[in-house]
């Protein structure tokens, strides 16, 4: 193991340019993937924020007994799709209208708006079908005059989210594949540059496992360094965008570490495949 470590380090020292090129190639491949991830993450967060505002309003007939409203509230809150169900009295409705729509302040002096039960849904239940189903169930209460939700809006958000998810998966796979191919080619180059050494090791009786070890260490190290550099570049890009364009949310620390580990695993796997192929051929 000591010799494998020493050989791996020697490989960096003997061919610093090739090693640096390898690390930078891995870094830029993962940086492109990281940028894409950042965009995907922020689009998802933005859509989630919009989705959170999906609301069903059940307008109540005037004079509905408070007990009936309370019973309905408890009932609706227990729906599996429902996150919150709140009662909004006529006065509260007017106060909110005045707060949100300045024109109301002057036009209406007294409670002319109906009381309502405002329902918000849990994540995962904000698709058009679920919204419609919950609205239909709420409409069955006798004291519910009318049920409203922005159907067009819900449909649009849902469509956007579906498209974003699909594009995200397709682009993610494409970016990931490109990163793996580029990293694989870089590592293959490093293996070919040392093919003479490999053939000599074989001639003098080194086992395949022994020959592989320094390459695996080298690939793993390059992956870690490339992954770390990619993370740094992505963070710098996110910081610059946040300062100058729009506020961008960066990856959680766990995801960031996972990204660097991904680099290490790609480096390790790429080395294993390249050396394995080379050993089978020579």
């Amino acid at each position: 193991m000591t010799l494998a470590l020493r050989e791996a380090l020697l490989a960096f020292r003997r061919a610093p340019l090739l090693s640096a090129l390898g690390v930078v190639t891995i870094a830029f491949s993962l940086f492109a993937f990281g940028l894409f991830g950042l965009v995907a993450l922020n689009i998802r967060l933005a859509l989630a924020q919009v989705e959170e505002r999906v609301e069903i309003q059940a307008f109540l007939t005037e004079g509905t007994a408070p007990e009936a409203v309370q019973a309905a509230l408890a009932d609706i809150a227990a729906f599996p799709e429902v996150a919150t169900a709140e009662y909004l009295s006529q006065d509260s409705a007017l106060a909110r209208a005045r707060r949100e729509i300045p024109e109301y302040r002057d036009v209406f002096a007294q409670a002319v708006l109906p009381a309502s039960i405002d329902v918000r849904l849990k994540p995962g239940h904000r698709d058009p079908a679920s919204v419609k189903a919950v609205a239909a169930r709420i409409a069955t209460y006798g004291f519910v005059d009318d049920v409203e939700y922005a159907q067009d809006w819900v449909d649009k958000i849902y469509r956007m989210r579906s498209i974003a998810s699909l594009v995200g998966v397709v682009l993610g796979v494409a970016f990931g594949a490109v990163a793996v191919i580029i990293i694989g080619a870089t590592i293959r180059m490093a293996v070919l540059a040392r093919s003479r050494e490999i053939s000599i090791m074989r001639l003098v009786g080194a086992t395949d496992g022994f020959i592989r070890a320094p390459f695996l260490i080298e690939g793993f190290t390059k992956g870690i360094l490339g992954g770390g550099l990619a993370l740094l570049l992505t963070w710098l890009a996110a910081t610059l965008i946040s300062r100058n364009l729009v506020r961008v949310t960066f990856f959680d620390p766990g995801v960031a570490v996972l990204g660097v580990l991904c680099g290490a695993i790609i480096g390790l796997a790429g080395s294993a495949v390249s050396v394995g192929r080379h050993l089978r051929r020579v």
Binding site: M201, L203, V204, G205, A206
Partner: protein
């Protein structure tokens, strides 16, 4: 120690490189392997150090069978063999000492024992003074000495040399040959492929000659040439055409010439005739 039984090596694209070779090399023997370019010498050596497996037949080296050997066993076998090539195959970015030490390190020798052993081997090949020189700073003969020192690190039972003097001038060639003789005298068998007829003439070691992948002469076994001659005649008869028969006959005659010679391999012209006749 080395036993080939009807060993044939056939490549999908280039055809038969070694054709039905049966051969035995005993412990401590020095054997010349000669024949024109493309006659299958290098492939036969590859079969011996198990870089290639025979398509048909069997190769046994130091009790290890080519049919049953695993990758790990090949590595173990190679530690009992020393292999030397025409192009030296040294690592250019390491000193002579480091090149020899590398062979010991990769085979898991105790680190403490390595420097002393490398120094002893470099002294044996006459390169103590140049232990810290890089290959580019050494002459061809000196580089080959480093390669030989590396081949000796594990005290091999057989030294396999594929045209080790092919790139060297006369003086260096004589020096390398003297070194190989000394190694052989200490008990290591040497199987050396060469084109150098003068070199072969300088010794009375056993000579094996190949042509078109076949063994056509063996100085220790006249039956080999007789068999080759008979086989060539049979094939010519089998071909059925007048031209084929004439061609086959010619080949057979040449093999017969080789057989009749006491100094097998001494007739360089004879070898060339084999090549040109065989190709025609």
């Amino acid at each position: 120690m080395i036993q080939l039984s009807h060993a044939t090596k056939e490549y999908p694209r280039t055809g038969v490189a070694v054709d039905d070779v049966t051969l035995h090399v005993a412990k401590g023997e020095y054997v010349w392997l000669t024949g024109p370019s493309g006659s299958g010498k290098s492939t036969l050596l590859k079969l011996v150090y198990m870089d290639e497996r025979p398509t048909r037949g069997e190769v046994r080296v130091s009790g290890v069978n080519s049919h049953a050997i695993s990758g790990r066993e090949i590595a173990t076998l190679r530690r009992r063999l020393g292999i030397v090539f025409q192009d030296f195959r040294l690592l250019e970015d390491r000193t002579a000492h480091a090149n020899v030490a590398f062979a010991l390190e990769v085979t898991g020798a105790p680190p403490d024992s390595i420097p002393a052993k490398v120094s002893r081997l470099l002294a044996q090949v006459g390169l103590s003074a140049k232990a810290m020189a890089y290959p580019r700073e050494l002459s061809g003969g000196e580089q080959q000495r480093v390669a030989i020192a590396r081949a000796l690190v594990n005290d091999p039972i057989i030294l396999i040399a594929d045209e080790p003097t092919g790139n060297l001038d006369d003086r260096a060639t004589r020096g390398i040959f003297q070194l190989l003789r000394e190694i052989n005298a200490s008990g290591t068998a040497v199987l050396m492929a060469t084109h150098d007829i003068d070199l072969i003439r300088r010794s009375d070691y056993r000579v094996i000659e190949m042509h078109h992948g076949r063994l056509v002469a063996d100085s220790s076994d006249p039956a080999v040439a007789e068999h080759a001659r008979q086989r060539a005649l049979d094939e010519a008869a089998g071909a059925g055409s007048g031209a084929g028969a004439a061609n086959g006959g010619s080949s057979g005659d040449t093999a017969s010439d080789e057989l009749g010679s006491d100094e097998l391999g001494s007739d360089e012209l004879g070898s060339d005739e084999i090549a040109s006749d065989g190709v025609a």
